[in-house]
Amino acid sequence: MPNEVRDRVIAIIAEQAVLDVADVKPEATLEDLGIDSLGLVESIFAIEEAFDISVPFNANEPEQNAAFDISTVGSIIAAVEQLVVEQKA
């Protein structure tokens, strides 16, 4: 299950960044991948649709958003895994 979440999140981010999934590494930041604020909001929407979850994210306070850490691809995967557990329990 966790691997499935990881693969799907990476696929969503890769599509947004127009990159091959193999080029989206967990340590990469969205900035590294060339994803801007609009791309981020679109990725979060795609994640919500893919996992049928609600992501608590306000574009006005991305740094303060403890509930959904967007600092790297890895942190996003971890946050999505957490939300899937919480919201699908």
Binding site: S37, L38, V41, N58, A59
Partner: protein
């Protein structure tokens, strides 16, 4: 070139359903933002707004009118009636041919779209009311004003998202200045506080769930409002000849395009519009006492706007006052510049600067005098009103005390 003055004002917004009540709320620093009372609100994650409460169409209009008037048109007509009454103008004779209507709205009859999509998609109906199209069209409000008051000159509606009203009023100003009309009924209106309207905004993730706190370090987004404000712009000589009470003079206008990003604002685009309005008015920066900010309460707008003001005004940026009344009436989208022009008139006419309420924490990126929380008495001679729209379209008006 003709000089242009404002001789009438009217409004319906979350703070009040007239100008006097809106001025009182500005003086008190009162918020009109509260829990939304709309269908399916429980399916929204954003549940607050600057909603016009206690609105009773039947108190103003008959049944035949209500079936033709979307909520944005209703607000517009009542505000226009107040403005034209105050101006004392009668357009029944020859003046009607030299007067027009220029309005701004971003979405037009959004409630009408919402209700009728519901009917056909959710309720599965195969028939809608015959007047859906004339009710929802963006120019419906402008056309109904022209019919109600016999305005037979240049009349149209502009849609530039959150700058719609400022673009409309700027064009009205230019038309009178250039001599193509004696008077223009102008301003703007918006009413998109319905399920579909809010749901669309939720998607962008720029909305606050609790309050609009422009320029405050802990701001977390915009809050939508609704309403209209309508003004009578008139040729100064015409107004003077008939002894009209002049509320303010419109002295400059500029518009620019960022040509950069569909949602993110640009400091350069905003600064060029502000500087352009000053140049158009023949004013020096240090003559400006107050700026009604676009001030949406988003992270991006407020810091960009403050940086643009600092760029244009240099040291004088620290002396002028700048406030966002969106903290009180919410962001009225295509109508917002018009509602905010009321704060400019209050500043010029009565020497009262409307505050930025909800201000809690200074933000080093917004280090200007934002008139936090409490209205201030100050004599100002020149004011600006900023509007910076999604799509990078900027429109700034300059007004002077008369």
């Amino acid at each position: 070139m003709k000089r242009v003055v404002i001789t009438g004002a009217g409004t319906v917004n979350a703070l009040a359903q007239d100008v006097a009540g809106t001025f009182a709320a500005f003086r008190e620093g009162r918020s009109g933002i509260g829990e939304l009372d709309i269908r399916d609100v429980e399916r929204l994650s954003i549940r607050i707004g600057g909603q016009v409460k206690g609105w009773d169409p039947e108190a103003h209009f008959n049944r035949q009118q209500i079936v033709l008037f979307d909520r944005f048109t209703q607000f517009t007509l009542i505000a226009a009636k107040q403005a034209i009454l105050q101006s004392g103008l009668n357009f029944d004779g020859h003046l009607g041919y030299e007067a027009g209507v220029v309005l701004g709205t971003a979405g037009g009859g959004v409630n009408t779209w919402d209700e009728n999509y519901r009917a056909v998609y959710e309720e599965g109906k195969n028939r809608v009311h015959p007047f859906v199209v004339p009710k929802l069209m963006n120019n419906a409000a402008a056309s109904h004003i022209s019919m109600e008051f016999n305005l037979r000159g240049p009349s149209f509606t502009v849609a530039t998202a959150c700058a719609s009203s400022n673009h409309a009023m700027g064009l009205a100003f230019q038309m009178i200045r250039g001599g193509s009309a004696k008077a223009i009924v102008t301003g703007g209106s918006e009413s998109m506080l319905c399920f579909g309207g809010i749901k669309a905004w939720e998607g962008l993730r720029v909305m606050s769930k609790d309050a609009c706190r422009p320029f405050s370090a802990n701001r977390n987004g915009m809050v939508q409002g609704e309403g209209a404000a309508i003004f009578v712009f008139e040729d100064y000589e015409h107004a003077k000849a008939r002894g009209a009470d002049i509320l303010a003079e419109v002295v400059g206008f500029a518009m620019t395009s960022d040509a950069a990003d569909i949602v993110m604002p640009s400091k350069q685009g905003a600064a060029r519009a502000i500087a352009g309005a000053l140049k158009d008015a023949g004013l020096a920066g240090d003559q400006v006492g107050y700026i009604n900010a676009h001030g949406t309460g988003t992270a991006a707008n407020d810091k960009t706007e403050c940086a643009a003001v600092a760029d244009v005004f240099g040291h004088h940026a620290d002396k002028l006052m700048i406030s966002s009344t969106k903290s009180m009436h919410g962001h009225c989208i295509g109508g917002t510049g018009a509602v905010e022009l009321l704060a400019c008139i209050l500043a010029l006419r009565e020497g009262v600067i409307a505050p930025t309420i909800g201000y809690e924490e200074p933000d080093p990126e917004c280090a200007l005098d934002v008139v936090p929380n409490v209205a201030r008495e100050a004599k100002v001679d020149v004011v600006l009103s900023n509007a910076f729209a999604f799509g990078g379209l900027n429109a700034v008006l300059a007004l002077r005390r008369i």
